[in-house]
């Protein structure tokens, strides 16, 4: 495990006997002694803490909100300008073919834009922003901060014990907070389908803050294993699996993330990388769609499982891009791409596991209803 980077919580993970694995260039905890299944349930039923410090945290500034927002709109198909102060939104970088080069969260902090990108893509993302936007926009990676997610129905109780102001935040609000004696900023968001917060904290204070949150006996550390099953049940995409440079937002069923103002006939329609291709896909439709896939038996259908339109013979009509066991569902869950003609909820299809066709059907996402504080 040479050349792997460590997050500011590395020593804490080891102390808590996490199983550390290489992930996106970092040594990360895949699970703690609790185990993936119980960590998953802990997050759904109480509260879990996730170290997501491997993700890239980037500040963009250009003197005014309007300048930075309009500059960022050249790289993403989202309404950035219309974002209210201290609010966050989901987005993605597109490429010339209309594919997705990374997905991200962006937040307005006064005149600055705060962007959180995936660990595996962050070097490319930062290079993209610098090359496209500098010198009008200053692009600064925050390498001295950790990012800690607190998720679950009791996340508010854990965080509000340190700063009661967090209780008043709604889903996707962003605030500067004082958690004990640590100055942080946080959004009310996450990637588990549960209520919670993502807290950007100075690296030097990250472990102490995490331990203050762990002081409650109903808060536990949660590894990447449960993070994956939680986000899968929540119907959320994992970049590089469910979406990538070859999938456009229409195929990926991510149109909800493109606000009207950036669509055809919107005031700021197009104007981002690959806009022509995305608008074409909008107008003429796509041949495949990302859908939920619910295996009917007990066998998990994992990434790469081929999906057919018949129990025998027939055609391959799709592929699983994420799949596994959903502890809250109590059975296997999956998502993937199928031909548009097979994408209606309820469509009966078959996944081929170890040479055997097993029934599944197209299912509504998410598998577990979101529990956000709207």
């Amino acid at each position: 495990m040479t050349d792997l980077k460590r997050t500011p919580l590395y020593d804490l993970h080891v102390e808590l006997r996490a199983k550390m694995v290489p992930f996106a260039g970092y040594e990360m905890p895949v699970q703690y002694p609790l185990g993936v299944m119980k960590e998953h349930q802990q997050t759904r039923e109480a509260a879990g803490i996730f170290d997501v410090s491997h993700m890239g945290q980037v500040i963009l500034s250009a003197g005014s909100w309007e300048s930075v927002a309009l500059a960022f709109e050249t790289l993403v198909p989202m309404d950035v300008l219309g974002l209210e102060d201290r609010r966050q939104r989901y987005g993605f970088f597109t490429n010339e073919a209309g594919g997705i080069d990374d997905d991200l969260m962006f937040a307005r902090r006064g005149d600055d834009l705060f962007v959180v990108v995936n660990a595996a893509c962050k070097d490319a993302d930062i290079a993209r922003m610098k090359s496209a936007l500098e010198p009008q926009v200053t692009v600064t990676e925050l390498t001295d901060r950790a990012l800690i997610a607190v998720q679950g129905p009791k996340a508010e109780a854990a965080v509000a014990a340190l700063d009661p102001a967090t209780g008043a935040m709604r889903f996707m609000d962003v605030r500067d907070l004082q958690l004990g004696d640590v100055a942080v900023w946080a959004s009310r968001s996450g990637y588990t389908g549960e209520d919670g917060y993502e807290i950007s904290v100075p690296a030097a204070q990250a472990a102490a803050m995490t331990q203050a949150l762990l002081a409650h006996d109903w808060v536990e550390m949660i590894g990447l294993g449960a993070r994956d099953s939680l986000r899968l049940e929540a119907g959320l995409c994992l970049y590089g699996h469910d979406i990538d440079a070859e999938t456009n937002p229409v195929e990926a069923s991510l149109l909800w993330a493109i606000q009207k103002v950036r669509r055809k006939d919107g005031d700021r329609a197009g104007g981002y990388v690959g806009a022509g291709a995305v608008l074409d896909a909008f107008a003429s439709g796509v041949s495949r769609k990302r859908v939920g896939l619910l295996p009917e038996g007990r066998a998990p259908m994992r990434e790469g499982v081929a999906v057919f339109d018949a129990a025998e013979g027939g055609q391959q009509v799709g592929t699983v891009t994420s799949g596994g066991f959903g502890p809250t569902v109590g059975g296997p869950v999956a998502m993937g791409y199928v031909g548009t003609e097979h994408a209606a909820v309820g469509t009966a299809l078959w996944g081929e596991v170890r040479g055997k066709r097993m029934p599944l059907h197209v299912a509504k996402l998410p598998f577990v209803a979101a529990n956000f504080k709207r």
Binding site: G35, V36, M37, A299, F325
Partner: protein
């Protein structure tokens, strides 16, 4: 009890052996969510894939530890795969088999050798 390098245990019971996976293997697998057992009466050769076991992390195969015939399978595991984590060397046996060549048992490890193997 005898052990294989594939982390199975075998316990002689009359003229049959009972086969399961070790505590060590169950810990390594993590939470087991799916078990597919062979049909009773299947004749297997050593190293045939006889059981599919999936944990939250991945799918693994359990190989036949010796030649013989599957005489009985532990069907409750199919509906309750987490038994494999709860009691891998007891309740959660996978199958019983009748050996074609009982001398194959001599090639397996005893408990002390297995403990050394996983240390």
């Amino acid at each position: 009890m005898k052990f294989t390098e594939e982390h199975e245990w075998l316990r002689v019971e009359g003229d049959e052996v009972v086969v399961g996976i070790t505590i060590h293997a169950a810990e390594q697998l993590g939470d087991v969510v799916f078990v597919e057992l062979p049909d009773e009466g299947t004749v297997v050769s050593k190293d045939d894939e006889v059981v599919v076991i999936e944990s939250v992390k991945a799918a693994s195969d359990i190989l036949a530890p010796v030649d013989g015939e599957i005489t009985e399978v532990n069907t409750p595991l199919t509906d309750n795969p987490s038994m494999v984590n709860d009691d891998p060397q007891g309740e959660a046996w996978f199958f019983k088999m009748k050996l074609s060549d009982p001398s194959q048992m001599d090639d397996l490890m005893d408990e002390a050798a297995y403990q050394k193997f996983i240390a």
